[in-house]
């Protein structure tokens, strides 16, 4: 079993911050006082309630309780050793993007990235991480990228799929310029900050609806990035969709091409079909695979993606997307596994190909 993922690179693993207390050593006196005085805590994203069975696989939960994903030894055993992986990329989901207070968001992003470096990366050489940024304020977001970019163990910049505004908007371009400059892909993870209703039809009643329709937010983000001309402006930028699902991609690409053909006069900088642009610049993680019930449909679907370079291996640990070590869904083409496990991640993340710096720059 294990051999099927041996030497792989897991592009979506979630370490959990135990609580604000863990960040206190990484905050300066001003922000420590703010946190104490205002009792700031509990910034875990409501879009991933840890009690929901789907967001913590039973055998990946700590026997004593607590947040799944909070323990390095467990993560090492479950993910790195469990799947025989060479590398796992930590994408820490925390509610920084939901704060209205921009300086606080910037301080917490700094602290969170420093905490990840010290408590995880320094202790386990197989781990890499995403830089969490205060997307609310592009200047501060750029500053955080610049501050952390020297540490090659940080391999991407991460934002949420549902934030203040569509990610292609020009106001955010300085952030994407910094990411491109440092060979850091822009990773967009499922989840949001309740700035906008989770569907264009308003707020659904059930968590199930939110989770299922998250794929629509990803589709809107792709439309935004393409239509605004982000990939024309930043030809070296790669976008990685995390926990997005991907079986919706072919039908989405067909519709995007058709709409572009009808309305392209509006966006002359989109000078080729959106499907071509997306295949070149966008990568997607394997889980949740949202696989069709008939395994034969799966290889057809992979074929419809039209590129062998788009899929990146991911367990989405500790979220419960599959059983045991069956991270590849039934029907996944055997000939594509090695590419998804190692080649595609290495092509996506240039920093995985260089030896990480010995020490974390200050």
């Amino acid at each position: 079993m294990r051999a099927s993922t041996l030497g792989g690179i897991d592009c979506d693993v979630h370490p959990a911050l135990p609580g604000m207390a863990a960040l206190m050593p990484y905050l300066d006196a001003h922000w420590r006082e703010q946190v104490n005085f205002r009792g700031i805590d509990g910034l875990d994203l409501l879009c991933f309630p840890p009690g929901v069975p789907a967001h913590g696989r039973p055998d990946w939960r700590a026997p004593a309780g607590g947040k799944p994903g909070a323990d390095l030894a467990a993560l090492r055993a479950h993910v790195l050793d469990g799947f025989g992986l060479d590398i796992a990329i930590l994408n820490c989901l925390y509610g920084i993007a939901g704060l209205g207070n921009e300086p606080l968001a910037a301080a917490l992003a700094r602290a969170l990235n420093d905490w990840i470096a010290a408590e995880w990366l320094d202790r386990e050489p197989r781990l890499r991480a995403a830089i969490v940024i205060p997307t609310q304020n592009p200047d501060m977001a750029v500053a955080e990228i610049e501050r952390r970019a020297g540490d090659k163990r940080f391999v991407q910049v991460m934002v949420l799929a549902m934030g203040d505004m569509p990610l292609g908007k020009r106001m955010l371009w300085p952030i994407w310029a910094a990411a491109e400059r440092h060979a850091l892909p822009l990773a967009i993870h499922a989840g949001g900050t309740a700035r906008h209703a989770t569907t264009g039809s308003g707020w659904p009643s059930y968590h199930l609806e939110d989770y299922v329709t998250t794929s629509l937010a990803f589709q809107a983000q792709l439309l935004s990035l393409v239509s605004e001309g982000v990939f024309a402006q930043f030809p070296g930028l790669t976008v990685v969709l995390l926990e997005s699902g991907f079986t919706w991609l072919p039908a989405f690409l067909w519709r995007a091409n058709a709409t572009w053909r009808a309305l392209r006069v509006e966006v002359p900088w989109v000078d080729r079909p959106p499907a071509d642009i997306i295949r070149e610049h966008v990568r997607v993680t394997l889980q949740p695979a949202d696989a069709p019930p008939d395994p034969r449909d799966f290889s057809r679907l992979i074929d419809q993606l039209g590129s062998e370079h788009m899929l990146l291996f991911a367990t989405d640990y500790p979220h419960w997307q599959f059983e045991g070590r069956e991270a590849f869904p039934p029907g996944f083409p055997a000939g594509l596994r090695r590419r998804v496990l190692t080649d595609n991640p290495r092509e996506t993340y240039p920093r995985l190909c260089t030896a990480p710096a010995e020490e974390t720059p200050a």
Partner: protein, 366 residues
């Protein structure tokens, strides 16, 4: 796959039966010449109100929707595209030998009107207008009952008024309502529609004050137009998850204006996560994909454009050949010609179903 429960509406024989089935176009967008067309059916109060205050909707300005029509659809009589019966008849119905054309009004919605009394008055007037100016003048045309959906009581009243009228075959519902369409506030509408055996025609429409997606407000029409079609997926998820079909087991919903290639992957994703989270919605007895298979039909417009046409066949195999309804979207710029809407070779049976048989079944058309 089992057909929907309940018997179809009584068959109305308005044309002699023909040997060869003719085309049914499930989405033709007719239009008012001006809002003043409604004056004969509006009270003095509402006529004055519209003159002085206009319509109140959560949008910054009223856009030029007619500019999205194809250039040759402007009738010589001077109104906007879709507003001239004779012209529409010649350009669409006669040209394609259409047996039945289903009218869907682009604007105004009635449902969007924040002044609910005005909304109810507008809906009433729109239904009177469509009977007098359209369906009674050409029996090939069938309308959707326009309802003030945010006021369920008034909406039900409107359904009761028209459900027995031969000019109407469905109840129009906006996708982008104030709340997701499955929420309880809309249940009386579904109850009435099911009781009268009328499908819900779910249109990509509505101004609900929300961003078109959770990503926020987009910059370009190319995003907004595609994004609005994506909201149909959220509407389907809402109707299923809220248990609307557990309550109204004979209810049928026709999804208009969003194509259908997205249906299989949405079903796979929906089923997978429902399996994981079904304890949150214990009222659901069926797999979501089964509920969708049983209760939904999908209009073809705007036609999907797969890079390899044969991929479309597998998609329809999955959705169900009995669930796809040809729709032209006339007179929109991206309208589909019946000869080109499905760029694959169809068997005679498949053609019969998609271009007429399925619509006859779901709408009870003879």
């Amino acid at each position: 796959m089992t057909p929907p429960e309940g018997s179809p509406p009584a068959v109305r024989r308005e044309r002699p039966a023909r040997a060869r089935p003719r085309l049914i176009d499930c989405d033709i967008r007719h239009a008012l010449r001006t809002i003043e067309d409604l004056n004969p059916w509006l009270s003095r109060r509402w006529r004055d109100h519209l003159t002085h205050y206009g319509s109140r909707q959560p949008v910054a300005f009223a856009g030029q929707w007619a500019a999205k029509a194809r250039a040759d659809a402007w009738p010589p009589s001077g109104g906007p595209p879709g507003s001239d019966l004779d012209f529409l008849r010649a350009q669409q119905l006669d040209r394609h030998d259409i047996a039945w054309g289903l009218l869907n009004l682009q604007f105004p919605q009635g449902m969007d009107e924040r002044n609910q009394e005005l909304g109810a008055a507008l809906c009433r007037a729109l239904n009177e207008w469509v009977v007098e100016r359209w369906t009674s003048r050409d029996k090939r045309l069938k309308a959707a009952i326009i309802v003030p959906g945010e006021d369920a009581e008034a909406a039900v009243e409107e359904i009761e008024r028209w459900a027995g009228h031969a000019g109407f075959v469905q109840v129009a519902m906006a996708t982008r309502a104030i709340e997701p369409p499955g929420r309880r506030r809309y249940w009386p509408i579904y109850e009435a529609a099911a009781r009268h055996n009328r499908p819900i025609g779910l249109r990509v429409s509505g101004y609900n004050g929300r961003a078109v997606s959770a990503a926020g407000w987009p910059s370009y029409d190319v995003e907004a137009q595609h994004g609005a079609a994506l909201t149909q997926q959220a509407a389907v998820v809402s109707l299923v998850t809220e248990g609307v079909f557990e309550l109204f087991s004979s209810l049928r919903v026709v999804v208009l204006g969003a194509g259908f290639a997205w249906v299989p992957s949405l079903c796979w994703r929906f089923d997978r996560h429902w399996e994981r989270m079904r304890d949150e919605a214990p009222h659901l007895t069926d797999r979501p994909s089964e509920a969708i298979r049983r209760h939904f039909w999908f209009a073809t417009h705007p036609a999907e454009a797969p890079e390899r046409a044969e991929d479309l066949r597998r998609v329809i195999d999955w959705v169900g050949w009995d669930r796809i309804l040809f729709a032209s979207g006339y007179p929109q710029r991206d309208m589909d010609d019946p000869e080109q809407a499905l760029p694959i070779r169809l068997t005679e049976d498949e053609r019969r179903m998609v271009f007429g048989g399925n619509a006859r079944a779901v709408y009870g058309l003879a």
